[in-house]
Symmetry: C2
Subunit: 424 residues, 2 copies
Amino acid sequence: MIIRKDDKRLQDILKRGEIMEGEYLHTVLDIIADVRTRGDESLAELTLRFDGYDMLKGGIEISKREMKDAWEALDDRLKLALENAKANVISFHEKQLENTWIYEKTPGTFLGQKVTALESVGVYVPGGKAVYPSSVLMNVLPAKVAGVEEIVMVTPATGGKVNPVVLAAAYLAGVDRGFRIGGAQAIAALAYGTASVPRVNKIVGPGNIYVALAKKMVFGQVDIDMIAGPSEILIVADSSADPDHVAADMLSQAEHDELASAIVVTDDLELAKEIESSVYAQLEELPKREIAKKSIEKYGAIIVTDDLNEAADITNNIAVEHLELCVANPMEYMLKIRNAGAIFLGANSPEPVGDYYAGPNHVLPTGGTAKFFSPLGTYDFQKKSSIIYYSREQLIADMPDIRVLAESEELIAHRNSVIIRTED
Amino acid sequence: MIIRKDDKRLQDILKRGEIMEGEYLHTVLDIIADVRTRGDESLAELTLRFDGYDMLKGGIEISKREMKDAWEALDDRLKLALENAKANVISFHEKQLENTWIYEKTPGTFLGQKVTALESVGVYVPGGKAVYPSSVLMNVLPAKVAGVEEIVMVTPATGGKVNPVVLAAAYLAGVDRGFRIGGAQAIAALAYGTASVPRVNKIVGPGNIYVALAKKMVFGQVDIDMIAGPSEILIVADSSADPDHVAADMLSQAEHDELASAIVVTDDLELAKEIESSVYAQLEELPKREIAKKSIEKYGAIIVTDDLNEAADITNNIAVEHLELCVANPMEYMLKIRNAGAIFLGANSPEPVGDYYAGPNHVLPTGGTAKFFSPLGTYDFQKKSSIIYYSREQLIADMPDIRVLAESEELIAHRNSVIIRTED
């Protein structure tokens, strides 16, 4: 597991999420076109085929009652933990809220930016076993904080059943409407609307390759969030780090998924060896040791560098989803970090604190996209309009420049609309 | 041209930008795959085929010298106008700059958001006749304000020639590198990099259907801005509006392009009639009357409503790119507006003021996408990382909740990484 920074293995790890989209594209385009044309009829056929669920019998919509019942059936201790997590997530995301501003540029001239919430949002929640109530909170609550009026959840009712913890989390988060649909067909329904499913302004939430591609293909018709790849952690550790802690954090990533990746970057070879032993020792005790072992063997690595500056360069180049800085002076070290989804500082901030609880969003850019994407946030559910208010005096003052510019682009009607107001 | 709000014609206008992507998709995917595999060799072949330019002879890169020479050859009066426009655009976009923040959530626990600039950005500038230096400023300057280190411009050298005003504007805006490439092949080169063209983090700028589709298909590999459709204006006018002014503003939109749309919404039928006459009278004097006439006849409309509240509803539903509020009390009326790219307030703020000069960006959401997209802004070139710093005391305090949540998701290694730190 211990490698040098120029080991070819690192490239294999970083490329693990690359998907050949071509082979899925036709299927996805056909599904989108069919749902767009035939609406609910198409949805019913596709849902029966892919999820084994007959919505003509069982119904497409999930009632508020079902969500409420699921919440009430939940264990009280879990309810309390989810309520506390919700309060933390709301509190952090309220700090991200943007407000309208206007300023006076010159006497009588105002410029600004009006901020409004999106009206409606669709949240995709995957089916299958690995379904996380925390994901429902993390996708829904920022929209709620932004002031979105209608939040629509879609989730496949594989074999007719929706995970009750998802329903409970949807109730707690305040989902307005829910539908038993999934896959590319659910994305198409949210993008174009059907008789049953309302069209929304933006679609967020992770999904399989069909869902990811469908989101990409409806972009422009609606807005979408980023494209999610397999999850990953990178831990920068110096000699102050506890090898057992670092090993535990690697495993917390590895247990997610065989494609998950856990990388340590350290300037301390002895520490590297201790971490490696600890990983294998702790691994044996895990219920998900099969998954975690495959992930560690294939996509785990401990990179030994000359110093911590080199470690920062590697970290910025990888641009990881979750970054832990297990170093003596994490606040100062953070100044060297440019690219990461979330940064966990110091010995007492393990990544699961952010997954569940602290408040910042756990929907984060993966696969190097932290070079240009941001965590999901309240800002994803607000939009802006520019504001321009000119006085007649200012229009007269600026007219000569605007005239020259319009004439240089040969747009005479543009020029006229200014001149007609200043020559009266 | 005068219609009621339920006229079928309105639907035709709003759907004018819809494009059947399917037929272009294969070509675009083939081009992307080829550039990704063969790099410069592919670029050279495609550029010769589509732009009639042999880059093996003429060179692919535009030198800084060429940009500087183009700037210096510009007329002094135009130089001054462009410099003033640049200063205004920078001044407005500086107000959009976001900064890193951290707050103390509980004693010893800090949460926050680190804001950093993207490292590199690609700007697509279309070829052809309708090339606007103002577009170069509007796409490049926000990236500059954000602190992007490398701004790469690509533009097709149709027949070997790049528009000198584009080069001059690139020089003024501070483009770092320029390349004589266009179409889907230029987008692929920016997304994946070739021996000559650097890979960037985000691609912005308008283009034809091949460029738009290529941007969509490389989304995820890089970030992109919105998908640009044909331009449009909507003017809400009450009896206080000057019909000649409103007519001039409709024409300033119509002269852009036969697909451009100019809509007036008014509660005053007499005003509607006066605007209509004035449009036809002013039209005759325009150099671009052929284009403007087609646009007005096909996609121009004056909608007469019962009152101004109804006008606001229609406006929000259309979610137009440029919205002028030519009403007696525009500041107050703006409170009713939810969806618009840019809002021009009152009698002295015609749309060309924003196109060229005032400061806010002229790259705006079109075709109803103002329901979810924002104007291009400094925020497009900054990204965020979450910051989480826990004290040991806080970790101990939150451990019971985190434990319950991790166990409910059957993620035992997640639980362990918290417990191992609190049980020592």
